[in-house]
Every structure is written in structure tokens, then in C-alpha cells.
Symmetry: C2
Subunit: 334 residues, 2 copies
DNA sequence: GTGAAAGCGCTAACAT
DNA sequence: ATGTTAGCGCTTTCAC
């Protein structure tokens, strides 16, 4: 592989001039600039960016920790990140962590070992341990989607409480009073916040909160199906089910159908996220739309600002949500 | 940040000894080894891996070109890649190319500029252009899932022809003779091969091939819906539809339902890929299961072998498929 | 405007 | 078993 010295020799200039021509062309006379460019072509020079990154101390790599890329919502977030990163001249190092702290730790180490400039975490968990903390204390990280809101790191999140309240209000406005909730893992702050929003709406409508209407889940189709089956066989069945994501809702709907329950006549079902599939299931799913791609774009932009020292203290960005009413929710009958 | 020299000074040894202790501990006496490890702790040393990669000429990064991470099947492939890469000590640089040659080219350049050791392409398109070819000619690449089979690069694929034939035979065995096909983009070799398999099965059963039974698509839910709508309104409707992926099939089923067509009584629907959603739609989808994660693992393993010179000429790996019969396909009625 | 030269942090001969 | 030393390819003062 031709290196910068070969170009210099071929052009009859010094390596410094070649470097300048490539980095700050305006500081080189047009004449030598042409000579250099010709030499670059002639020897087929391609800069060794590993050397550049090493020398400059900037890798222009960003590590992204995703609980699972197989989640359609995260896939959209990642798309947004890719776009923003490309525009800003950064590359994304994607880590599929499966929520495993060890895997997270492994990738987080890339920041402390100068392989990446910063990190984006999509889970409410600090991936850095004591050995990774650098001299200044905090490593550059942005926390998005599911966040730890302790003011240490910039955060991009949804007002999950308000969104859950909006959905619950929608259900209540249709006459439902026994509204079940299929939840995410209790370890997830998302779940906590949404539960509060759900209770807010109940309280506002003077409906007593009933703990027995809460069902466990983990954001998967299967978990939704399992909860749906349980709910189908309940003696005093709720008339509506609010699921914490669309996969869960789709799984639950499937269970209801197999139990010969009609959605929404026998039971209304609502989801969260508005993934593409939700518009194409039968009946189309009522859900909360989140600007997934925007989440990604914002997280990257924030991280790059952080790296460039353009941010004083950890900002907190709240993204907007939208209630999407489709046909899986209807009036409470009977 | 403490560097290797600081550790050496602190331990009272040379930098070479520190390097050896970290890379090949067996070549250092236990006594100095302990001294060095203590010093590493004391000064909080974290090796600058950018320097290591630069110096060693091996980045241990692999670029992966994915048409879209939002595709559930690719998400599974990526999961498999992550796993294998982690085991082999490599990191994945994921590029969401949206099938755009310029974006592909941008990321492919990472290989020729020493930012990554090799590349995995999931689309039938050579991402390298003339400026990227290195002295030896070919850059290290493995082509998986949708492949260009010209013998230049290692390939991991499915026997799409046989799989499509198997599915068509299944439909024929149920008594169907008018079997429509909702296709992928014509530019995709996948589509060509599957069409051949479909024709194979028809010919074998002495059913005339009818070009008017072919409908365009692009692997999305929406395309499936559109084709499904068209098919619903046909005067002489096919009794079965073979879709080139599950998203397309799910979109089509939705259109059939809205046209009051019952699946499978009025029309059978089959997909391809066996994504998670397919078992949770109504009715559950008959499809072809592909070992997605294995695709990813195999591609990574092959690429690493290639990088280590363990491969002479481009191997061709054919992954197994499995026909999954669920309830979306049934006997041809009437 | 251009060149000479010093290193970034590390590995790998080569010596001892 | 350990130390010395020469770079890897590039950027960046500091001279001229």
C-alpha cells in the first residue's frame, strides 16, 4: 500500500505538504496542489485512517449499546443514528447486548481504550465500571429511549407517563373501566413511568386501581401471547388491555382470537411504539407513535456536541408522542 | 491518560516487558509479571487500542453492509454475526445502506483505508470500485443471504430454487393450480432463483406457467398489501399466493381480510423467512424457515478464515431451509 | 508556501 | 528473562 511518503516522493515535495494538501488545501499553492493530487492518483494513495485516528486521538467512532437489534422499534432508532452519524462524519459501532451487562461492559471498554469517542446507551443501565472512568470522571455517553435520569448524562426520552395516561384516557373515554396492563420487565424504568401514567388516568376518572389487572411481560410476542391466554380465561375479564409495546399487543391479540374473543368487541387492545406491523394486523392496532428515527438522530447529535465540548451540563430532551387510534380499540360493550 | 511508558517507569521495567506481560504473559517471570500488573493498576493504565491496531495493522473490525436493519430477518442475521464476531475477537461496524450504492461505497472504503479488515455484504452487489482495489486485487469480502455467485468471493446462501420449489409443491399438494406469486424486486437474484423453483414445481405437476399470476413487490408490508388488494379484485382469482417474504405475506393477508376473503378457505397464503411475527398473525403463516443467525455466524467465520489466509479459493456454503406448515395454507376449495 | 523533524503509543526484532 | 531501539503512517510545530 502506497503511503504518504510515496506520494511525497512522486510529487517531489515533503510529506508535510502532502498532508496539508489533503487536510487544508487552501494553505498550499495551486501549483503544488495539482502536483500532489496527480501523485495521489499516480501511486494510488489511500490514507491509512487508522494512523490518522491514532495520531489525532479522534476515532470518529461511536459505540451504540442496543438491548436487541431484533426489536423493530430499536431498528428504527438505529436507522436514525446511522443517518445522523454519516452526516457528522462518524461511524456507528453497533453492539447487540441482549441486556447482558458483561457484553455492555465489553463494548463500553472501547471508549476507555480509545477505540471510540463516545457511547450511546438505549437501556437504563450505566455500562461503565470503576476501571473505565477516566481522569475527568465521566466518559462521554448519551442515554436514549429507556433512561436513567440522574442528571449525569444527556438524556433523550419520551414522556412515558403522559403517553400512558393519554392511552388510558382514550380507553376510559370508550367506556372501559376494567383496563388490564401487560407490562414490561419491572427492572425497566419505562414500565414504572407508564404505570404511573396509567394510574393518573384512572384516578382522574375515579376508577379504583386494581393490582390484579397487571400482567407481567418482557416486550416479546410470546410474552404477550402468554398474558393474553391468561386474561382470556379470567372469570371476570377486563374489557380492555393496554400493552407496553406493539409486539406484546400483537401476541395478546393472537391469544384472544384463539380463545374466540373478538377484538375490539369482546376486548379492546392497545399497544405502544407504532411499529410497521401494527398497521397490518387484524384489526389494525391502536398505539402510541414514538419518533424512533428522531430518537436516534437526536442521541447522535447530542453525543457529538458533547464530544466537541458544546454542552455544559447534561441536557434532557423529551420527544413528542402521538396517540394513533385504529380499530383494535372500541366501545366497551355489555 | 497513562501510557505504557508510565507503567514501565512505575514498575521499574522496560516498555517491552510491559507489552509482553500484557500480550504473552508466559514469556515473563512471575515476579516481574506481578510487578507490572501492580503498576498497571497503580497508574490506571488502559492500552490505547487505536495505537495497537495501527501498529499491528489489524483493526479487528468487520464492516457489515445491510440493506436495512429494520428488516426482521436481517436483524436475526446481525445477531448471529455479533455473537460470532465477539467470540473471535472482532467488532462489527454496521452500515444501514438502504440499498444505496453510494452509502455502500462509503463504508466499503473503510476496508481500503485500513479502518476495517474485511467486509460482509448482504446484497448482491459488489461495493468496491476501482479506486478501492488493492495491490493483490480482491479485498476481503464475504457475500451472504443475497449473493452474486461469480466465484470471486466466498458465499453463504440458501438454495432458493429448491426452497421455492418445496413451497410450491406444498401448495400443489393441497390441490392448488392457480398459484400467484408476489415477488421481490426484479434486480434481486433471490427473486430470479425462486421464480425458477416455482416454475420447476409447476412443470413437474404439469401446470402451465401463467405470467399474469406474477405480482411485483419489494419485501415490505405495504407492497404485500398492495398486491393483495389487486389480487382480491381479480375476476379469476388465484386460490393460493406464494409471497417472497413474510412481511409481504402479512401485508397481503391484511388486504384479503379487508376484501372479506378468508385465509385459507378462500385463498391460501405462504411466506418466506419465518420471522417471529409469522407465528403470531391470524392465521399463523406457512413459510420457509431460514437459519438466519447461522447465516450471520457462518459469514463472520468465513471472513475471519479468509483474513487469516485459511481459505484457498472462494467457498460456497449452502444453508438448509425448512418448510413450516401452519394454518395460512389449506386445501383448494371449489 | 514549503520542508525538516519530532513524536502519538505501541510492537517486534535484535541484543544482552 | 529482560532491555534497547527502530519504526508503523501520519500530523504538527517550528524553521526557513
Amino acid at each position: 500500500m502506497a503511503n504518504i511518503r510515496d506520494v511525497a516522493d512522486s510529487a517531489g515535495v515533503s510529506v508535510a505538504t502532502v498532508s496539508r494538501t489533503l487536510q487544508q488545501p487552501e494553505r498550499v499553492s495551486p501549483k503544488t496542489r495539482n502536483k500532489v493530487m496527480a501523485a495521489v492518483q499516480a501511486v494510488g494513495y489511500k490514507p491509512n485512517l487508522m494512523a490518522v485516528k491514532f495520531r489525532s486521538g479522534k476515532t470518529h467512532n461511536l459505540v451504540v449499546l442496543v438491548p436487541t437489534v431484533a426489536n423493530v422499534f430499536f431498528a428504527r432508532v438505529i436507522s436514525g443514528m446511522q443517518e445522523a452519524a454519516a452526516e457528522l462524519g462518524y461511524s456507528i459501532l453497533l453492539a447487540n447486548t441482549l441486556g447482558n451487562s458483561e457484553i455492555e461492559s465489553h463494548y463500553a471498554k472501547m471508549v476507555s481504550t480509545s477505540q471510540a469517542d463516545g457511547l450511546i446507551q438505549l437501556r437504563a443501565h450505566n455500562p461503565f465500571d470503576a476501571t473505565m472512568i477516566n481522569d475527568n470522571g465521566l466518559l462521554p455517553m448519551v442515554n436514549a429511549c429507556e433512561v436513567i435520569d440522574d442528571g449525569q448524562y444527556p438524556v433523550v426520552s419520551l414522556d412515558n407517563r403522559a403517553a400512558a395516561k393519554a392511552m388510558t384516557e382514550h380507553l376510559i373515554s370508550l367506556g372501559h373501566t376494567r383496563i388490564a396492563m401487560i407490562k414490561g420487565p419491572n427492572s425497566s424504568p419505562l414500565t414504572q413511568e407508564r404505570l404511573v401514567g396509567y394510574k393518573d388516568a384512572l384516578a382522574q376518572a375515579n376508577i379504583a386501581f386494581d393490582e390484579s389487572l397487571l400482567f407481567p411481560g418482557d416486550f416479546t410476542l410470546q410474552a404477550g401471547y402468554n398474558a393474553g391466554e391468561t386474561i382470556s380465561h379470567l372469570e371476570s375479564r377486563p374489557t380492555a388491555v393496554f400493552c407496553e409495546n406493539d409486539e406484546t399487543a400483537i401476541g395478546a391479540m393472537q391469544a384472544f382470537k384463539q380463545a374466540n374473543l373478538h377484538v375490539p368487541n369482546d376486548i379492546s387492545v392497545a399497544g405502544f411504539d407504532d411499529i410497521a406491523f401494527s398497521a397490518f394486523v387484524d384489526p389494525p392496532l391502536t398505539t402510541i407513535a414514538q419518533p424512533a428515527e428522531e430518537f436516534g438522530r437526536t442521541a447522535v447529535t447530542l453525543l457529538v456536541d458533547l464530544l466537541n465540548g458544546k454542552i455544559r451540563k447534561a441536557p434532557k430532551v423529551i420527544m413528542p408522542f402521538e396517540l394513533i387510534v385504529r380499530e383494535s380499540t372500541g366501545k366497551a360493550l355489555g
